[in-house]
């Protein structure tokens, strides 16, 4: 009895071990059936987004992507440079870029002999009469001679030296102007384009 059972089991096992022949249309039939199954309404899009998938990219597409990234980087750098350039301009110039024509000027040497002076500055129409203007501070050259060479716009200007922040001295070598308004002397200079 027991032997009979073992033979039956062995026969069934042999039959089960035989590979099942699957028809070529099976895959298509299975996929059709799957598509007809109802989707889960809430997880449809989300599951698509989070489901890992394999994407095939050709070398040509890689090249195009790299070119696009490089292009964006160059454009970004150009914009950043332009923004910096604009930020560096004075506000008035930035709002009215072509409103003020560039002022042409010539470098002019101012010389004053003042042996006892501790400080000599040049003030005039060309620097807003500002004795602290850094570009118009005369340097002592020795022997009581003070001088500074500074840009002065073309045209007619009035100016003076300020010695030790308190004494106003007209340039003894330049034409004088009558300026009685404030009781201190001024000189005149006519700066012309060098030919």
């Amino acid at each position: 009895m027991r032997e009979d059972n073992e033979q039956d089991i062995e026969r069934i096992a042999r039959e089960l071990r035989v590979p099942v022949a699957v028809g070529p249309a099976l895959d298509a039939r299975v996929m059709r059936a799957v598509r007809h199954l109802p989707r889960h309404a809430r997880l449809g899009l989300w599951s698509r987004l989070i489901t890992p998938r394999t994407v095939t990219v050709t070398p040509l597409v890689w090249g195009m992507l790299a070119a696009a990234v490089a292009g964006f980087a160059v454009l970004g750098a150009m914009h950043a440079k332009e923004d910096l350039r604009r930020a560096a301009k004075p506000i008035a110039t930035a709002f009215f870029p072509s409103a003020k024509p560039p002022v042409r000027s010539q470098r002019v040497q101012f010389v004053l002999v003042a042996p006892d002076a501790k400080k000599v500055a040049v003030v005039g129409d060309f620097n807003g009469w500002d004795a602290s203007h850094a570009g118009y501070q005369a340097q002592h050259r020795g022997g009581g001679v003070w001088s500074v060479t500074a840009p002065v716009p073309l045209g007619h200007h009035r100016y003076s030296f300020v010695v030790d922040d308190s004494v106003w001295v007209a340039d003894p070598t330049a034409p004088r102007v009558i300026d009685y308004d404030y009781g201190m002397p001024n000189s005149a200079i006519v700066v012309q384009e060098q030919k």
Binding site: A92, D130, G155, I178, A188
Partner: protein, 204 residues
């Protein structure tokens, strides 16, 4: 171009300069003085006079420690002198010419003499002749003599560089003790003779 477009362009051209001038004045003047100077500058702008010299005049006063009233008087006086100068030398005059002419008027040159100098200069700029004329007057050359000499030099076609040299020579002569009138007349005569090509006469 329409009037509106021209007005807009004019505003765009003037606005930055006006803003910069106002900022400089605001930093140096007290409020009442600033308001008075602004009014004078606005009037000058409306009369198409250069406004930068007025702003500079106010800044000069502030730098020299002058009080507000003096500053307003000086700016108003300059504005009136520039208006007179422009009337005499013509509306085509440059801001530099108007400024120099106003300075000459302040030195005592009459409007009639200014007109003579304008006519003698022709189309050449008269900024340098005016600066030299003012300097001669400041150095005690009589106004009539100084004006006659500079008009003569301008009529002879003397260039600006020669005029500057003339001014330096006269100044040196005066500094050495020469009579201002004689020094100016002698130097001017020499320059005219040189420029007309007859400078070899032994009498000069």
């Amino acid at each position: 171009m329409s009037t509106a477009a021209r007005t807009l362009i004019a505003l765009l051209l003037i606005a930055p300069q006006a803003m910069a001038q106002d900022a400089r004045l605001g930093a140096r003047l007290d409020k009442p003085t600033l308001a008075a100077v602004r009014a004078i500058v606005d009037s000058a702008r409306a009369a198409k006079l250069p406004t930068a010299p007025l702003v500079d005049k106010a800044l000069e006063g502030a730098a020299k420690g002058s009080d507000g009233q003096n500053i307003v008087v000086a700016v108003r006086q300059l504005s009136m002198q520039m208006a007179s100068a422009k009337r005499v030398i013509g509306s085509n005059a440059t801001p530099d010419e108007i400024k120099a002419a106003a300075t000459a008027l302040a030195a005592g040159v009459s409007g009639r003499d200014l007109a003579r100098l304008r006519a003698a200069s022709g189309k050449r700029p008269m900024t340098m002749p005016l600066a030299v004329l003012t300097d001669l007057i400041v150095r005690n050359v009589p106004v009539a003599t100084a004006t006659a000499l500079v008009v003569q030099l301008a009529r002879s076609g003397v260039r600006d560089q020669e005029l500057a040299l003339f001014q330096r020579n006269v100044r040196t002569d005066i500094d050495r003790g020469a009579d201002p009138s004689v020094a100016a007349t002698t130097r001017a005569r020499g320059l005219v003779l040189r420029s007309t090509g007859s400078g070899n006469k032994p009498s000069e």
